[in-house]
């Protein structure tokens, strides 16, 4: 496999960096290579944070990239900032209750209502795990069990069930989207 470049970007507190770390950790624990660099807007409340992640079967020479294959974004500000930096044939996944997508040529765009569904589960914090379930079902990066194993090891026992349900909600949303999967 060639390098897959994934850019995750959203507001501070959206769990963007955690999401990147879960994907990267699942990769390296399952024999793949992964590298992640992190960026922030100038420190202020409501600023954005970004995780640039590269996945590959081979050792990754250089961690920095400009254009991604996959952009995952949770706010309009960060969507506007990055939607033009997606390669031809790439994919944008956005939080559909917060982002109004624009026309981008030769890039597929899919929305997911992560925050609303997380609230229905009782905790807005698991929105990133809903996105993860959604993303992995579309991209088939890893077996679900591999991701769930990593999630389980990262969260306290009392939140495991909540995270598992969140993951499954994301998975279900993707499976219900005719033509996407």
């Amino acid at each position: 496999m060639d390098e897959t470049k994934i850019r995750l970007i959203g507001a501070g507190g959206h769990g963007i960096l955690t999401l990147g770390r879960i994907i990267g950790e699942t990769a390296v624990k399952n024999g793949m290579e992964a590298i992640m660099t992190i960026g922030y807007s100038p420190a202020r409340r409501g600023g954005w944070s970004r995780a640039d992640l590269i996945l590959s079967d081979e050792k990754i020479d250089y961690p920095i990239f400009t254009e991604s294959n996959i952009l995952i974004t949770t706010t309009q500000e960060t969507y506007d900032l990055e939607h033009r930096n997606v390669m031809e044939g790439g994919l944008i996944i956005y939080e559909s209750s917060l982002v109004n997508p624009k026309i981008v040529n030769d890039v597929r765009q899919v929305g997911v209502q992560a925050f609303e569904n997380a609230l229905k589960l009782g905790n807005r914090v698991v929105a990133n795990i809903i996105i993860l379930g959604f993303v992995n079902t579309i991209l088939k990066l890893f077996p679900d069990e591999a991701l769930l194993e990593v999630i389980k090891s990262r969260v306290k026992a009392r939140y495991r069930d909540l995270n598992l349900r969140a993951y499954n909600v994301g998975r279900r949303i993707a499976m219900d989207m005719v033509g996407v999967v």
Partner: protein, 384 residues
């Protein structure tokens, strides 16, 4: 995630460079950390503060970097493997004490996660402007051992090597990283403890009355520590074998010579470098740290275009691996030094390689020279 407490279990992790540095240091036996917060080295202090108390170690945040490194020197003289971590301005503040550690032959480890300088510079962004400072930053003649990691895995591996070198040669040892390598997250494999070489202090085996802390019959004298019954007298003044100040030319010269020789004679054992496709290269890129990863990509891209290019990566800065470099020069190739500063490594390369064969791509701090820029320079060199 393995154990979040104390020593990490062997396994494969997705770990930040600065965190890997802490895990390696603890495995190497580090039990004292003295430091003062500064970006982009802060994750090292933060994780040390959390972990050291769990394994019987001590973490002190001092009032500044000068006090921090003095605390580290004191702890090492009490027999405890000790380190500090800093960046930019903090590293400058530590310079005088690095000279002191060399003078009193105290094994300490200093991590410098380089940011853009000079002065306050670019606190959150990358730089490689401290390369010469690791050898020439303190006044007077002295030597250090300097490791140059280019990945989180090497932050782990090389901090252990740094401790081993410091305690083998009784010399201040520096892990010279950079903001990119310190902050990037990548696969880090932690081997089982029995597969990791950890060097400990050589203790004196003579009676306390006969002990000479700077005994010139050794290249590296055994090190007694305060509190073990041996007399310990330490001073930054030139001193004799007992550690007492002296201006006697013969004694001074003998001690200075021994301190330099302990590094010089072991240079071949200490130096580390890595070569990629150098065997048939007409142009060899010389780089270290994060820049070496951009250079590696540029070399691969250039090869695809038919340019015979290779990479010589410095893994130790000091001692400088000039022997393997000059061996490569004998095959008649040219060199291109790429670094995030106005010209530091290139000066050293030009000490050993005729000037007309050495090209230079300097880069301002704040970003990494992208592979495309290096490739452009490669084309320029080939096409005149």
């Amino acid at each position: 995630m393995g154990s979040r407490d104390g020593i990490l279990e062997p396994g494969t992790y997705f770990m930040r460079g600065n965190d890997a540095c802490v895990e390696g240091a603890l495995i190497a036996g580090c039990r004292f950390f003295g430091g003062y917060p500064i970006t982009p080295s802060n994750e090292i202090s933060a994780l040390m503060a959390r972990k050291l108390p769990l394994i019987g170690g001590v973490f002190i945040q001092f009032e500044d970097e000068i006090a921090s490194i003095m605390g580290v020197i004191g702890a090492a003289n009490a027999g405890v493997k000790s380190m500090t971590a800093t960046s930019g301005p903090g590293f400058s503040l530590m310079q005088e004490a690095i000279g002191l550690a060399y003078m009193i032959e105290t094994p300490i480890v200093i991590v410098n996660v380089q940011r853009g300088g000079p002065s306050t510079g670019l606190p959150t962004q990358v730089g490689q402007g401290d390369f010469l400072q690791t050898h020439y930053g303190s006044h007077g003649d002295y030597m250090t051992i300097v490791y140059l990691p280019n990945s989180p895995q090497e932050m782990f591996d090389m901090i252990i090597k740094a401790f081993n070198a410091a305690w083998t040669y009784r010399v201040p040892t520096i892990l010279l990283s950079d903001q990119m390598v310190g902050h990037m997250i990548e696969r880090v494999v932690i081997p089982s403890l029995e597969d990791i070489l950890v060097v400990d202090r050589v203790k004196p085996d003579v009676d306390p009355e006969k002990y000479l802390p700077f005994d010139s019959k050794y290249l590296v004298p055994p090190m007694a520590v305060a509190g073990e019954g041996y007399r310990v007298h330490l001073t930054g003044l030139a001193h004799d074998e007992r550690g007492y100040p002296t201006t006697n030319p013969e004694t001074v010269s003998k001690q200075y010579e021994r301190m330099a020789e302990k590094i010089r004679r072991n240079e071949d054992r200490i130096i580390e470098w890595e070569e990629y496709l150098t065997h048939d290269a007409e142009l060899i890129i010389v780089a270290f740290g994060i820049t070496s990863r951009s250079a590696l990509k540029a070399v691969k891209d250039a090869r695809r275009l038919g340019y015979r290019v290779g990479l010589f990566r410095l893994k130790t800065g000091w001692p400088f691996p000039w022997k393997p470099l000059t061996r490569l020069a004998e095959q008649g190739c040219r060199f291109l030094v790429v670094e995030i500063n106005a010209g530091q490594v290139v000066r050293i390369v030009r000490e050993y390689i005729p000037n007309e064969l050495v090209y230079h791509l300097p880069w301002h701090p704040g970003s990494v020279p992208p592979p495309e820029i290096i490739l452009k320079k490669i084309r320029e060199v080939f096409n005149g």
